[in-house]
Symmetry: D2
Subunit: 347 residues, 4 copies
């Protein structure tokens, strides 16, 4: 069967990427696209790269325009999706690309976001190792899915295998990310101007204040961590898309290098969209540009007593829109990889 689809926030980066992926998806038909200030315009006036959608016009984002579809993707500013989702049919598959439904703990929500906590939906990172099985098991049949934060899911995928296997400690985790500015959305903010970003590396949310931190520690607790702590620093670098996360952790004393490596190899054996490279190889973000692939390299630094995991993802695909579509495939019982590219666009 063909599922009818609505995409809200279709004028932004996440919404545009969902549409780019759905254009090649055989089971989904995009019927409705909505926006805020751009409502009334042809979609292609705002997203001129989406040549296959020249027939669509942006409508207002309301519960009414989104109602009556089998699947609704919400790509709205944080805080905006809770109210709309509440008005949609419980049988409609709703995937929220915002942060509103990612965190289980009200105290963490309060500390990092504030305002009303709407509760947690099924977290849309299928391959994420959990103490038992993977996150995939929680997605089958779900009708409410929270697509992950792009930085958070990249780091969670990088460290969870070692936590679950008991080969790394859950304290003194460190992750530093080189990220493209599209992860911050198409927002009119001075620090996102090209003049500020071209030719420069710019840190932000330094020192334990980034909102993706509780999302990471939540995922690591799912993998078995007791009280995980992580020093997390994102750095905007001059590339339109991509995350290169360098994550390191202290190896549990007495664990040999082969055992450490095996934790990652085992966790992702057979996964199409999370691939661990052979020893000595490390990924570049260009390798996964446009693809739903997380590429990972793992090194054991014996002198430092730490494992180093370098992971490349496209923040808009595996980090957001690809995770959303992959999760939707699972929820609906479709083949998980339907419509999702695995090869990157390089150079």
């Amino acid at each position: 069967m063909t599922y009818s689809v609505a995409v809200s926030g279709a004028s932004g980066y996440a919404g545009g990427e969902i549409l780019r992926l759905l254009a090649d998806h055989p089971d989904f038909e995009v019927r409705t696209v909505t926006a805020h200030s751009n409502a009334g315009q042809p979609l292609v006036a705002v997203q001129p790269h989406l040549r296959t959608f020249t027939h669509l016009t942006l409508q207002e984002t309301t519960a009414e325009t989104l109602a009556g579809h089998d699947v609704v993707f919400l790509a709205l500013p944080h805080g905006a999706s809770g109210a709309i989702a509440a008005q949609l049919d419980p049988e409609t598959l709703v995937i929220d690309c915002g942060a509103d439904h990612r965190l289980e703990r009200p105290d963490e929500w309060a500390a990092f976001y504030g305002g009303e906590h709407h509760g947690a939906w099924s977290y849309g990172v299928p391959e994420l190792p959990r103490l038992s099985g993977t996150q995939r098991d929680r997605l089958t049949g779900s009708r409410r899915i929270a697509a992950p934060g792009c930085n958070a899911s990249t780091v969670a995928l990088s460290l969870a295998p070692g936590i679950r296997a008991g080969v790394i400690e859950d304290r003194d985790l460190v992750s530093v990310l080189a990220v493209g500015p599209s992860g911050a959305g198409k927002s009119l903010k001075a620090h996102l101007l090209a003049g500020e970003i071209l030719g420069s590396a710019n840190p932000y949310s330094v020192g334990g204040v980034h909102r993706h931190i509780p999302e990471i520690t939540q995922a690591l607790r799912w993998a078995g961590a007791a009280r995980p702590t992580i020093s997390f620093t994102p750095v905007i670098v001059p590339m339109s898309r991509g995350i290169l996360a360098t994550s390191t952790a202290r190896i549990v004393p007495g664990t040999d290098a082969a055992t450490v490596r095996a934790a990652w190899d085992d966790a992702y054996a057979g996964e199409r969209f999370v691939q661990v490279l052979p020893a000595g190889q490390f990924p570049r973000t260009a390798d996964v540009l446009g693809a739903n692939t997380a590429l990972m390299g793992v090194a054991v630094d014996e002198a430092a007593g730490r494992v180093v995991v370098v992971t490349a993802v496209d923040n808009l695909v595996k980090g957001t829109a690809g995770a959303a579509v992959q999760s939707a495939n699972i929820a609906l019982g479709l083949a998980e990889s339907t419509g999702l590219p695995v090869n990157g666009v390089a150079p």
Copy 2:
């Protein structure tokens, strides 16, 4: 008086930057520039941005062409400077921008470089805190100076204050750097092609194998560390110059945030070229582009129990050529800041 100067390796990035700085230096007069494959060409054919040196022609790099100057800057491939330096007058001030004379310990030289160890010269990072005083004290009157590795000096400046003040532990140090490709020199290597680097973040020398690691731990021992270990990962990002180093360390338990911060504020109080930003502010590499300035932001992440130090330098200036000129100024008894820009070229 005016000092006569020769610059070898003048066709490369480090050599070109030394010349750019010397063009505005009132006490140095560049008489000789040398190169390898480009010998015989006008300097400006290879370095077209150096409009004030249209009168210079590249000569062969030999001890003979370099002899007879008051100051000789060596910007040669690693391994090439030892033999040439040995033939220069002991009273000539020689500054080596290569790695040959940076490491004191033969075992570390053997482990990371191999080949003959030429011994250590005065290390050219004046502001580096040592257990007693600063590295500046070792540069006064010196006639043999080793300019630092750009990544190494950036990380050493970032962490040494906390080590010296006893507020951070010397194990589980972690540093991840976003670096521009000019730090790797003008080498014809496939991974340095623009097609490989544009739009991508590319890690290299991952897992404890980068040659700057022993240079960092040597500097931290000078500051008082007993057995420092560091996980060090550089990531090439698409900007021509710049290093943004994010370094983190475990805070010694029981140390309050103000005491932590004070270690950095105190270490660099009064320094012109190493400046610590007010709390809550962090530097961008564009802020120091073309300048001999290291800008530093310090955050205390209490949840993670770690301090985070973000430092921006221009790898070719404070990281190499500026460090060389600043050290030469000190060695010769000139005002330390002569000829050295402190304002960056932004945006």
Copy 3:
């Protein structure tokens, strides 16, 4: 049926892009990939973004390894394909991505390339308007196809409609292109290093010497130009892929603006891969990144008496590999758009 395919030059940018497209092509099966210095390595060691081809190993590029396939793509250095092609079965479909078989006139070959002229094959730009019909007609059933030069085909598509319709003069044509460095291939040349290209705009082959000039004028003669002359200047800019060609021509006196515009609208009406935007809109290269699409904006500058045509293509897709696959589809009687993306990857 499924056609067996060999790709030579598979370690380069053009070869890699052919493989990326073929990965999603239902009628082609890649059996053999060949290279020169990388022969013996796994393909994915050199092209780590091609995750669906982990089973392939690079073989030596010889007539023997390429023989026995239904389709052979040659992505070799200029001058290398003639000899190999001569040894392949005349019934094999051979598509040459090099320049060897693009030019009809021996005198132009001699003037811009020199060496032996191998004669012209069917030129692989299907939509190119000719005095009668389009270039597509010459591709049906062909077994020897010359994929175009990326700059040349972009400019030819930009100007041929006006020539054929008789609304622009064929003298004083001017085209200036912003191009990404991947168009120059993965060559170890100093001017292609990231350090040279990041943060800079660099012209090359200025003043009538670029090898794509005779390819452009040949195409314009096919469209009806008597003695076309063009001032052609490419400028390398810091983006990995993409061509933005700004082409201008003198409007034939007395032609009104609507008639001028109609020449382009008519030429490409119904084309999937060459699209003319509505008046007042102009394309960006990001809009076609990764896609086989040429997007075009046309403006009439009445004060200057000239039409301005701005065309965006991805040099590796519509400019090279996509043109090759599209032409192969036509030659074999497959649906022309099979396996070819039309939506770009933006931002």
Copy 4:
């Protein structure tokens, strides 16, 4: 003597660059910096690269705060400077970096800007060839100077020598520019976001509508053109600064190549800040980054019957702030090159 200086618009790109240059100027002392929404903040909070101005606080931009200085630089939005300038002492040297006082003809002002025309001030491009002498002659002793549009002055400098010498025709001029986004200022506009510009080449103001066109033709008329027409297209490319202008013109029939070239060599012989490269060499924008230098390459394309002039400038220096300071030096009778760098920051 030391001149007291006020800089308005000090939080923007042009204002920041004026300050960067003045920091190294021995005869100017910056006493006052003003801004609009950032008034009240320390200058260095908004311009963190200007480390020598940590003592300055941004004040409100009013005639009162600007009064009482010897020199006032206005770097305000277009339309804002006329009213303020009218309130400043006629003996104060006022340099306006906006467009308000560039155009002599009210009809051109009305056509391209609209609103009140404030009349033309001395145009701040000293080297610009005029039928008799250079523009420099109009700047000596002036107290009201209009700094040029960055694109306009680059193109005017490129073409005026050929016009004045009578070697090129003044019709069918074409200029296409690769420009960095800093030329558009620090404006919160969607098309200036990093996500839109990274990895892409984006044209704007295509088809004869760009506001710099009348400024170019005005300058060409000063050089002797009767009715100049130019097709002018700027393309934003992913570099923070820089303009690479490719300008072409039809050579007057019968003019030999040496005569053509001599027009440019003669026009700029002896100029420090406008330099013509030897035949066969062309500039890159990196060669002039941060410098007050226009580098120019000239080619004669005999087949096309056109001259091609490729000129690189830094839009913020020679294109704006450097032009302003250089003009101020002339107006006040200082050495023209005081405080102005001629070497670029490359790579």
